[in-house]
């Protein structure tokens, strides 16, 4: 069953310098109990997308078009009040910065109880407290009864991220959006947090959107991957295939940029160049200035998202079935 369906989502920011298209015609869907990775360099529009799904991106200078269908509701058409009933209840989010994402003046327990008390009016304070301690235990915090009364500054970054997960899962979350949940953490803690999320996902039959620029995280966590570049999807495919046979030159570049332990001697290469300025996008395919395979056509025309026979999608002329494909294979 499809839980989330994003259709033609476009997000523009208006400023004095001009209009920035942070997200451009985004389409993806997510089945209940499954997980999707959104990967891309800084500024590719990952956070903006997730904040929009949460209904947290509202200000006068933002223009959002398209549809976000969640569990039969058109999220973009809901009133702020209706959206608030969903936020923190059936859709939750955890953020990149565990050190600053908790209120320093409230105890951790109080912060976990808060969404319960907001969304489940029938629950008493006593029951909420019991539930919060249960959640602390579930996310692997030792001696939860005691930790309940402690403040964020008394905990490590990993523990704080566990608290954030407990807050996110306090109600009946169907969709958990994790925006780089482990970027700020040590590698060992990272693995623990990812394990925790994986096991909770199975236990609760919950869907996860994992936002990251670390393809390693995606490999651990996600069934499908969406690769974004300058607000657009450039590749969409099942995780194994992304690693076995990346399609888009940008995806190939991303993969080359992660160290592989198995292959003995392989040069680690970053993608050359930088992400273009959002106010000053190149013509044609926005990746062409950095692309090894770019042809003249790429500088003039914008490719569409081509669908391959196996269902994968990629936004690159190489795959549109025309004569270009041969050139690239030769270049390979």
């Amino acid at each position: 069953m499809t839980l989330l369906k994003v259709e033609d989502l476009t997000i523009k920011f208006k400023s004095r310098q001009g209009v920035v298209k942070a997200v451009d015609n985004l389409n993806f869907e997510l089945a209940q109990g499954s997980s999707l990775g959104i990967v891309g360099e800084s500024g590719s529009g990952k956070s903006v997308t997730s904040l929009t799904i949460m209904g947290l991106l509202q200000n006068a200078n933002t223009e959002i078009t398209g549809n976000i269908d969640f569990d039969g509701l058109d999220l973009l058409k809901l009133s702020p009040n209706e959206m608030r009933k969903i936020r923190g209840n059936s859709i939750s989010m955890i953020f990149q910065e565990p050190m600053t994402s908790l209120n320093p003046l409230h105890t951790c327990g109080k912060q976990i109880m808060e969404p319960i008390l907001i969304h489940q009016k029938e629950v008493s304070k006593q029951e909420a407290k019991k539930h919060a301690i249960e959640l602390l235990r579930m996310v692997g915090i030792p001696s939860p009864e005691q930790r309940f009364h402690e403040y964020p500054h008394q905990m490590s970054g990993g523990m704080r991220q566990r608290i954030m997960i407990a807050i996110a899962l306090a109600c009946n979350t169907k969709l958990l959006i994790a925006d780089e949940p482990t970027t700020a953490l040590d590698v060992t803690i990272q693995a623990q947090i990812l394990d925790l999320m994986n096991s909770l996902k199975k236990k609760r039959d919950m869907s996860i959107i994992m936002i990251t620029h670390d393809l390693g995280v995606v490999k651990e966590m996600c069934e499908k991957v969406v690769v974004m570049y300058t607000g657009q999807i450039v590749e969409k495919s099942p995780t194994e295939l992304v690693f076995a046979d990346p399609l888009h030159p940008y995806t190939k570049g991303l993969l080359n940029a992660i160290p592989k332990i198995s292959n003995k001697v392989e040069r680690l290469e970053a993608i050359e160049g930088t992400v273009p300025d959002a106010l000053n996008m190149p013509s044609g395919c926005s990746f062409h200035p950095r692309c090894k395979y770019a042809t003249e056509k790429c500088t003039l025309e914008v490719p569409t998202l081509f669908q391959l026979e196996d269902g994968r999608e990629v936004k690159c002329f190489i795959y549109d079935g025309s004569e270009k494909g041969d050139d690239v294979n030769a270049a390979k």
């Binding site: 949460m54 947290l56 608030r84 009933k85 969903i86 936020r87 923190g88 209840n89 939750s92 989010m93 953020f95 910065e97 600053t100 994402s101 908790l102 209120n103 320093p104 003046l105 409230h106 912060q111 808060e114 969404p115 907001i118 969304h119 403040y151 500054h153 954030m164 807050i167």
Partner: protein, 337 residues
């Protein structure tokens, strides 16, 4: 925590000692003659009276022995006798202090309540008309000379509109009640004399507002900028992601965090407000320490000047101590060591 307070109190003793010494030296550096300031012209012409005056107040002794004498008395809690009033300085201070305390508390409450309220409204409606109005008022609070503001307020509200009574602490037809704490609001409330209570309250509004205006502006500006900063913090985003109402976010998460720097500013404001006391008390005929300090200063009443200075220093330290304790109450990250 207790050790922290004890250390601060010890520090207070040193500070008071320093202030006493400083005031003593300063008052003797001033090129003026307390004899001339306190005796009439005819008495001054009589050398016997002058000699007797000098002897009585120790003015004939060397500066050093005057100083020793002064400290000796201080240690026994004796602040000396006022040259001007002829009463023990301690008794004078006790008599005038409650009026000042009451006025400054009222001024501070006005400053805090309005300052935080205005600052919050200003932050919520950032760059809207109401924000501009409040910011203009706050800036004028910080920049208007208080004597001018006091006279204007007195003129508008007492003389022209007749809403508030004129200068003074209570209606001239009533007598000041004896005994009690000297804090008339409190005393009249406890004794159930509500007519007196409202009279006292009406008399407090104008000087309280004038005195608190500067501090109000300071607090409003600080509250606004802190709140705006806090509202862009990650934990506020977390609060939003929980589905909290915007009003609940401000009340439960933002204000308390925004208040931490405001406490410091409020402390500075309170000390500042005590400085404004001399002017405001004189304009509003307020029988408090401010007037007492003024009258003592113009008559070069050294014991009284020293006494007032010590009292003010004492209050400053107590306020700072209270602020430090308040930090710990609000912010769990603060540790006393």
């Amino acid at each position: 925590m207790l050790r922290f307070i004890a250390r601060r109190l010890l520090f207070l003793l040193f500070l008071l000692f320093g202030v006493a010494l400083f005031v003593f030296i300063l008052s003797h550096l001033v090129p003026s003659d307390p004899v001339a300031a306190n005796l009439s012209q005819s008495a001054l012409n009589n050398p016997e009276i002058v000699a007797a005056f000098k002897e009585k107040w120790g003015l004939d002794q060397s500066l050093f022995s005057q100083l020793l004498l002064y400290f000796q008395h201080l240690l026994t809690g004796d602040l000396g006798t006022s040259i001007r009033t002829g009463r023990p300085v301690f008794d004078d201070l006790m008599q005038f202090f409650p009026a000042t305390l009451e006025l400054s508390i009222v001024a501070m409450v006005i400053a805090l309540v309005l300052g935080i309220l205005f600052g919050t409204i200003s932050a919520i409606f950032r760059n809207k008309a109401i924000d501009h109005i409040i910011r203009t008022v706050s800036i004028s609070g910080v920049s208007i000379p208080s004597f001018w503001f006091a006279l204007i307020m007195l003129n508008i509200f007492s003389s022209v509109l007749g809403i508030t009574p004129g200068p003074g602490r209570i209606d001239t037809r009533t007598t000041t009640p004896e005994g009690g704490t000297g804090l008339l609001l409190l005393d009249s409330f406890i004794s159930g004399n509500f007519q007196l209570f409202s009279d006292v309250a009406m008399h407090l509004i104008l000087p309280g507002t004038v005195l608190g205006f500067f501090t109000m502006g300071l607090i409003a500006r600080q509250t606004r900028s802190n709140l705006l900063e806090v509202l862009s913090m990650d934990y506020v985003r977390t609060a939003r992601s929980k589905g909290l109402k915007e009003s609940a976010i401000i009340v439960k998460h933002a204000i308390s965090n925004a208040m931490i720097p405001v406490i410091t500013v409020a402390g500075i404001g309170f000390c500042n407000l005590l400085g404004g006391m001399v002017l405001v008390e004189n304009i509003f005929a307020w029988p408090g320490i401010g007037q007492y300090a003024y009258l003592s200063a113009v008559s070069l009443d050294f014991p009284a000047i020293c006494g007032v200075s010590l009292l003010i220093a004492f209050i400053y330290v107590v306020i700072n101590l209270l602020i430090d304790i308040l930090y710990g109450v609000i912010d769990p990250r603060v540790r006393y060591e």
